[in-house]
Point group: D3
Chain length 138, copies 6
C-alpha cells in the first residue's frame, strides 16, 4: 500500500451554539494545520500515487473556501457546528470531488482513499477518511 501526503494551513473564526462546548461557545478562532494523504495499492504510469502538484493545488483551492472566514456565517456549518471533525469531513469530501476530475494518468489508481487530518493546537487534532469513487469515464 502506497500513500502520498501534502500539508497546508488555514485560519478561521468560529463559535459553537451547543452549551456542550463550554468556553468555546464564545467567538474565538483557530489556525488549522492540514495534512492530506491519498492511499492506493499501486502506482500510476509516472511512478507516483498521483500528481503532487495537482494535489497541492486542489488542497489550496478547497482551503480558500474557508480561509480568513467566520465559519459562523458559512453555509456548510449551519447552526454554528464547525467542529474539527466536521471541518475534516467537509474538506475531505470537497478534495475527493476535485481529485475525481484529475486526468487518469495523473490520478491515483483505484481503489483509493484519502484522509484529511486537522491540527487545531499543539495538543489536539481530528481526521476524516473517505474512499475515492472510481475514476470518471473509467
Amino acid at each position: 500500500m502506497f500513500s502520498l501526503g501534502v500539508s497546508d494551513h488555514f485560519m478561521i473564526a468560529h463559535s459553537f451554539a451547543d452549551p456542550f462546548f463550554g468556553p468555546a461557545q464564545r467567538l474565538h478562532g483557530a489556525t488549522y494545520g492540514v495534512e492530506l494523504s491519498v492511499r492506493t495499492p499501486a502506482l500510476g504510469p509516472h511512478h507516483v500515487v498521483m500528481d503532487i502538484g495537482a494535489l497541492r493545488s486542489i488542497l489550496r483551492s478547497v482551503l480558500e473556501t474557508l480561509d480568513y472566514m467566520n465559519l459562523d456565517e458559512h453555509s456548510a456549518f449551519p447552526n454554528r457546528t464547525s467542529t474539527s471533525e466536521r471541518l475534516a469531513q467537509y474538506l475531505a469530501e470537497r478534495v475527493a470531488e476535485e481529485v475525481a476530475k484529475v486526468p487518469a494518468d495523473a490520478a491515483p489508481p483505484r481503489p483509493a482513499s484519502l484522509c484529511v487530518l486537522l491540527r487545531e493546537s499543539p495538543v489536539a487534532w481530528a481526521s476524516y477518511e473517505v474512499s475515492l469513487p472510481s475514476q470518471e469515464g473509467a
Copy 2:
C-alpha cells in the same frame, strides 16, 4: 472514518532486568510524549467523536498513575518489564476502561477503537491499539 486525538507527556525512571536490553539494564529514565487517538465511523449528537475535554482529563488521570515514578517498583510491570510497548498497552487499556464510563452523548459511537502512541526519544516510538467495548447500558 473519523478520529480525534489529544497529546500529553509523563516522566519516569526505569530499568530492565532482561540482559537483552544492554545498557538499558542500568537505571535510567524517559520523557514519554503521548498521542492518544479515538476512531469511530460516525459522530455523536454534538458533531464530535467524543468530548475532547473528557478525553484529555481521562488521559491526564491515567498518566498520573505513572508520572514522576520509578516503574521498577510499579505493580503493573513486574520483574522490570516496562518496555514502551507494554507502557502503551497499559495506558490504552486504562483509558479504554475510563472511556467506557463516559455518558453516552459525550462518548464515541460504537464500534470504536483507541490507540496510544508513545514517543520516547526523537528517534523511537511505540503504540498499542485496542477496540472499545460496547457502551455500558447500551
Copy 3:
C-alpha cells in the same frame, strides 16, 4: 548566560481595520503557540533560573486574559490592532509584571530579561523581548 523556557497556546478571533492587511481585514482567527523564555546570567539558590511551576502558572493566567476571545473587542488592542507583534508585547509585559511579584528565592536573579515568541501558523511567528525590572524590595 542561562535561559529557561515553557510553552502553551491560546485561540482567538480577530480582524484588522487597516487596509494594509488585505484579506486579514475579514474576521478570522488563530491558534497561537506561545514560547516564553527567561534569561539570566546566574542561577538562584535552588539551582534554577526561576520556579518553572510559577512560570507556567503565570503564563497560563496571562493567556486567560486572551483565550477564547474576540480581540476586536479587547481593550488592549483599540481600533482592531492585534497584530502578532503587539500580542507578543502585551503578553511579555503582563508576564514581566507577574514575575516581579515572585518571591526572591523562586525568581530569576537580576539582571534578567524575558521573551515571548508567538507561532501563528507553520510558516509565521513574531516575538518581543523585554528586560525585567529589579526585584521588588531588593
Copy 4:
C-alpha cells in the same frame, strides 16, 4: 495491535526523465527524513515488537545504499525514476529482507507488516507498507 518505530535520514541528488515532473527534471536533491514502523498483533518473549537496536542498524545499513549518492546512476531506479514512492518501496523491501534474518527471539511475531514513510520537505511525504514473510525456519 502493537507498533514500534524508529527514524533516520539520508541525503541524495536526483532528477526525473519524465516531462511530467516539470522543474524536477533538473538535477536537484533532497534530505529524506525516514520513519520506519513495524506492526504486529503480539509481543515477543522480551516484551517488545522486536529488537529496536537491530531495527535501527538494519535501517542504517539499508540507507547506506542510497546516502550521499546521485540516484540517477543507481541501478534500482533505471531511467531516472527515483520518485519518493519508489524510494519508500525500495527501502521497505530491503528492510523486510533484513528483518527476515533477525533471530526469532528478537524478531517481530508473525503476522507482521512494516511501513517506510519518507518526508522530502516540510510539506510533502510518501510511504509504502509491506507484509513481512513468515520467519525463516519457523
Copy 5:
C-alpha cells in the same frame, strides 16, 4: 526588541571539492528548511515589524535563484563551496538587498537586522545574521 519570522524550503544538488568533507565530496543533495527572521527595536506605522507578505515574497524570489538546481554549477559558489554556512550568508545578503527596496511604511524601522537559519537535516543547521543598511532615501 521585536522580531518577525517566516519559513520556506528549497531543494538542491551539490558536492564539495575539499577532501575535508569526506563522503560529501560525492554528488548528493539536500532539502533546506529556511527560517528567516527580522529584528528591530520598534514597530512601524502598521504595528508590525514589516509587511509579512512582502517578506514571504522576497524570500521565495531569492530561493528561486537556488531551488531545483545543481549548486556545483552556480556562480555564487565557485569551486564547489556551497556549505550550509555560505548558503545562509548568500541568502541573507540577497534578502537584505531586497528588504532595502521595500517602501518605508512596510519596511522594518532601523536599526534592524535579519537572520537566515537553514536546517539541512533533523540533526544539523547553520545560520547567518546581518545588519540591514539604513533605508534608501531616509
Copy 6:
C-alpha cells in the same frame, strides 16, 4: 555572525533533594533533547564554522558521561542537584573543553561561543551559553 548547530539526545534517571521541587523529589527520569550550537563572526579555511563531524562526535562523547545513568549518583551533581539548567552548564563546559582541542583548521575562528539547549518535555527547556577560550597554541 554565523552559527552551526547539531542535535542529539540522552536518557537519565534523577530526583531532587530540595523540597522546592515538589513531586520531582521522587525518583523519576527524562529524555533530554540536546541542541548544541557554535557562534563565530567568521568562517574558517573550509568555509564552515567548524568541522560538523567533529562537533557531533564531541557531543556524543560528552553525552556518554550521562546517558543511561542515575544522576543521583553522578559526581558532577552532588546532593541531587541535576536541574536542567545545571545539566546544560555541565554539558556546555565539557563540550567547550573538547572543542578547544580541535585542530585549528577544523575549529571555530575566535572569538566564538557555544550554547547547549536541553528540551526535557514538549513544554519545557533550558539552556546555557559560554564563551570559547582562545585556541590552544594560537
